[in-house]
């Protein structure tokens, strides 16, 4: 079975998304990766076209930007499914523009395993908050188990809860915690975060959030605003792909081990011999 990936993004650079890392993380496991732009005005389209000259797996599509307010998640889901419909593969895998698929051998093996069986999968999403060592507790803010993979003809949905029977992808999906996604959206540059968050809230719910507006006005970082789960954050000291560490480092979140790594030669590849 062939596997195709897709990422939807609009003004990815000006809103400080890790969209390049998202796409790059799909390339090793996919036959093709569709980037569905939506009338970007910040040069994201041009950046994709340049990338396509070097990377034959990438394809560009444009979903016209509607800018409707209060359409709930529908608009986003339409956009996702527009991207999905561009695939020519048997199977689909998708990431949001602020998510990166783990490059660990275990994760890649799990993706290939699910693709070869034609099965739907829930991924384990690490939702970072405040810094790369803090994870949003399960049950707060955004889902930890997210459906991101299945047959290409299955409709993709948002991460909002659905009733059984509504979305076959969710009904048939099984969870595999080897499938790790690094969700970096909350670690974007503060100003970009607020600009985007307000747009999305108005788009989805037809209203903003006073905490975000307060943060935007005072220049406080997101985690310094009132937040009901700050005291419940879970520490994270696990594996982090190089691409994620590079992205974080550029935003003042370099971990000591990454700095040490920059100062040392890369690790040699370990050769494994079957027993």
């Amino acid at each position: 079975m062939t596997l195709g990936g897709y990422v939807v993004v609009r003004n990815g650079d000006s809103l400080d998304y890790s969209w390049r890392e998202a796409v790059a993380s799909l390339i090793p496991v996919c036959e093709e990766v569709v980037i569905a732009d939506s009338d970007s005005t910040d040069g994201t389209k041009e950046a994709i076209e340049l990338w396509m000259e070097r990377e034959s797996k990438i394809r560009y599509a444009n979903f016209p930007w509607k800018n409707e307010k209060g359409v709930s998640h529908r608009g986003f889901v339409e956009w996702l499914n527009f991207a999905r419909e561009q695939l020519s593969t048997d199977m689909q895998i998708t990431l949001d523009a602020d998510e990166v698929l783990s490059d660990s051998p275990e994760c890649h093996a799990a993706v290939r395993e699910a693709a070869s069986k034609g099965e739907c999968r829930f991924f384990h999403r690490l939702n970072f908050w405040r810094d790369p060592r803090s994870i949003i507790p399960d049950g707060h803010c955004c889902a930890r188990r997210v459906a991101r993979m299945g047959p290409a003809n299955y409709v993709m949905c948002s991460d909002e809860p659905h009733h059984p029977g509504e979305v076959p992808l969710l009904d048939e999906g099984t969870y595999d915690d080897r499938l790790k996604i690094f969700h970096l959206g909350f670690l974007r540059k503060t100003d970009a975060f607020y600009r985007k968050a307000n747009v999305v809230l108005h788009w989805w719910f037809g209203r903003g959030d006073p905490r975000l507006s307060a943060g935007e006005e005072t220049g406080k970082k997101l985690h310094e605003t009132e937040c009901e789960f700050t005291h419940l954050l879970e520490p994270y000291y696990g594996y982090m792909p190089d691409s994620v560490q590079r992205w974080l480092s550029a935003r003042g979140h370099a971990t000591p081990s990454y700095i040490a790594r920059l100062l040392t030669a890369p690790d040699p590849v370990i050769e494994i011999e079957p027993w």
């Binding site: 080897r178 000291y237 690790d267 050769e271």
Partner: protein, 347 residues
């Protein structure tokens, strides 16, 4: 022609405690492959570098019948890159189990059966110096602010033999009171002291992993936010202590101190609510700066205090305000994590 003996080569690059907790899996592997060659490398990971400390670990490993040899990795192909276990690790799953799950994820390796309840360190001679003593180790990582170290030192100080680094000993004495220090040249000597003692008490460190490997009587200071050393369910030999209050091997501890250790590393504690309406670290006169590091300069400024004094003031205020977290029973979330860790260990 004589057939060359095939040796299973396993590569490690974790911390020393990680290596000690991989041994149940190495032991099980050796039952299939014969004694294992343990290779070590420094990799650019989150762990400390191990090669420079290998001389302290190697004698213990080499003393084990299931280890053929211990040496630095020089690039040869290996059968199991055990150092990669971290991708299978969670906060509530023991490091030993994480090694097993990583092992089982490697399809090219033979099937093994691991018994985490059985000892995995053998032939360790009991050191006479530790007869009737309590061996203690405490590192400055993975601490539990409600663990009653003051009481232990007060009540059993003359029986305590502290092992670990000189710096750890000095830090321990300055915080909890004086106790005897035994310099050990390597972990085999530390293991012998544990084997010869009545009891081991310590936090989540490599000597605790050694005590577990020996199946020795032990009390473990469980780190509330990362209880990942519970290899097997508690039994008559081991107490995992999240809250103060335990009895084992004739040693009875009833409660914790009423004052928080002023040197407690707050940076390692995720902010928690001392009260419903006051998230994070708290001090009544600085209500708009609830996070410890922004609170500290405020308290220093308002009260004209030095950093240590201000730190103590905040800690003790929070301890009084929220005794459940610092003293007595831990937070509900800690208790949940602890329960989960016990469950994952088969309790």
């Amino acid at each position: 022609m004589v057939e060359q003996k095939k040796t299973c080569r396993v590569l490690f690059y974790g911390d020393m405690g990680d290596v000690c907790l991989s041994l149940p899996v190495v032991l099980a592997l050796s039952k299939v492959t014969g004694p294992v060659q343990m290779l070590f490398a420094d990799r650019n990971s989150i762990c400390k570098r191990i090669l420079e400390r290998l001389h302290t670990l190697a004698p213990l490993l080499e003393s084990q019948p299931y280890v053929e040899s211990v040496k630095p990795h020089s690039g040869e192909a290996v059968h199991w890159a055990a150092g990669e276990f971290r991708s299978y690790h969670t906060m509530t799953q023991s490091l030993a189990k994480s090694h097993l799950l990583h092992y089982e994820g490697q399809k090219s390796l033979p099937k093994i059966s691991v018994d985490f309840r059985a000892p995995w360190l053998f032939n360790i001679p009991a050191d006479e110096r530790a007869k009737g003593k309590i061996v203690v180790q405490r590192t400055d990582r993975y601490n539990n602010p409600s663990f009653p170290w003051h009481q232990i030192v007060e009540r059993y100080g003359s029986r305590i033999l502290f092992v670990g680094s000189d710096r750890e000993h000095k830090m321990f004495c300055s915080r909890f009171g004086n106790c005897e220090y035994v310099h050990t040249k390597d972990l085999l000597e530390a293991a012998s002291l544990v084997a010869g003692s009545d009891l081991f008490i310590g936090n989540q460190s490599c000597v605790a992993a050694i005590a577990a490997g020996l199946g020795h009587h032990r009390v473990i200071e469980i780190c509330p936010w990362q209880p990942d050393v519970i290899v097997a369910p508690p039994d008559e030999k081991v107490r995992y202590v999240l809250n103060a209050g335990f009895a084992i091997q004739g040693i009875q501890i009833d409660g914790a101190d009423q004052e928080v250790d002023p040197h407690f590393n707050v940076a390692s504690v995720p902010p928690r609510p001392p009260g419903k309406d006051a998230p994070g670290w708290y001090y009544p006169e600085c209500q708009n700066t609830p996070i410890f590091w922004s609170l500290l300069p405020e308290v220093m400024r308002k009260h004209g205090l030095g950093e240590d004094e201000a730190r103590r003031k905040i800690l003790n205020y929070n301890a009084k305000f929220n005794p459940q977290f610092f003293i007595g029973s831990a937070q509900e979330k800690d208790a949940e994590m602890f329960k989960k860790a016990l469950k994952e260990a088969g309790a």
